[in-house]
Subunit: 229 residues, 2 copies
Amino acid sequence: MNTFECTCERCHLRTLFFNHISKNDIRSICTQKVEHRYEKGDVILCEGDPIKNFLYLKEGLVKLSRTTSDDKEQIISFAKPFDFVSLLSVFSSENYHYTVTAIEDSTTCELDLGQVKEIARENGVFTLDLMTRVSEATDRIILDNLEIKQKHLHGRVAYVLLFFAQNVYGRDDFELPISRKEIAEYIGMTTENVIRTLSEFKKDKIIRIFGKEIDIIDRERLESISLHG
Amino acid sequence: MNTFECTCERCHLRTLFFNHISKNDIRSICTQKVEHRYEKGDVILCEGDPIKNFLYLKEGLVKLSRTTSDDKEQIISFAKPFDFVSLLSVFSSENYHYTVTAIEDSTTCELDLGQVKEIARENGVFTLDLMTRVSEATDRIILDNLEIKQKHLHGRVAYVLLFFAQNVYGRDDFELPISRKEIAEYIGMTTENVIRTLSEFKKDKIIRIFGKEIDIIDRERLESISLHG
DNA sequence: ATTAGCTGATGATAATTGTCACACGACATT
DNA sequence: AATGTCGTGTGACAATTATCATCAGCTAAT
């Protein structure tokens, strides 16, 4: 973990929710913001910690997870920049409900939550923008979880593979950033069954596997399995 | 469905998100708001409809549902007053992603969305309050769905019974407002298995059943099943 | 009054998923 | 070099869940 500088006025993420904000406010935010670098595996935020900062992901990939009522890990979603994971409970709770962990090297930008709230109080347009982003992010999480809930094992595994291919890497061959166990924790099945399913996909020549390397060679079939399998 | 009048200044729901709003704005909202009465079974909002109003539930009980990618009904959550179901996609989409149906006689209050947004733009404190409510409601939905996902059939059914007993009716005997089929659509299991599970709970003297009437007679056991079963 | 349709209920059987056991290799620790 | 841990992979078997068939009761429609 490592700290360095950038310029908010040129930040490509700024357009997302700092569209309607004064030069003054931008400068004030810019001077006190802190950027952090995390390596794959680092915990960025921890379930239960007090929420002090307003945090967003500038670069990288993270997972959101929590501990269930019977003490197992459960993955809630994966987020890349623009997905605003940290916004989730920022305005509705004193403490984080979820743990955020980097699953690829990541960079975050942390603003003081009090300062952001101060700007929000004085600038309704900014707050509306913000709300739209929060709403989009949570809608996405809800919808994804509902989609998964309705599928069987095979459909769920296919769905995850397609999620990484389409939404994260934009290509059919990629290196899986998570373990089989984590896929299992996300789709709510056992690790063994995830492994078995991947093996079957391989046997059926739908994907190729070399460790974490995945290559989707029959995308149509995989999509069909995701939908109806 | 039936329209009548009330006074916003005295509305017990007003405190929820109209705390920091001017007398003028309240009066302006009050004059153009429309209240609707729905009977059990009435559809209040329909998936795909354009979002024109800012709507909240004054009284009653509703279900949120959607059609899945393979054309089955799926229930997302149940909401009572203060749960603000309609807020869900109000700020992130042009159309409703979900259908809202009354499962008990219900009353809604509908405000013009444009007018609410106008106030939001000019009043950041109001918008912050609003965001907090939206955030709470969506957090709840996400958490409930994660809890259910991690349980087996018996735990899921127990969870639903406890949800109605504790969160909706505040008592251990109540009339189930939904069918077995709807329970199944909510917990992601088949109707037959829901019915079977209820029968087993009855056989094991955990609950009594008379049609839709449920009486929880061994709450401790039911809670244990919900957690570990 | 009869039919059709829906909900609730139960049983038999098939399909899906979980559990346990074991094996292998990579890697870190000692 | 020995040990332990973790991720991956596979098989056998048990548990869980879905599917299909059937039936009873109720209600709406004709």
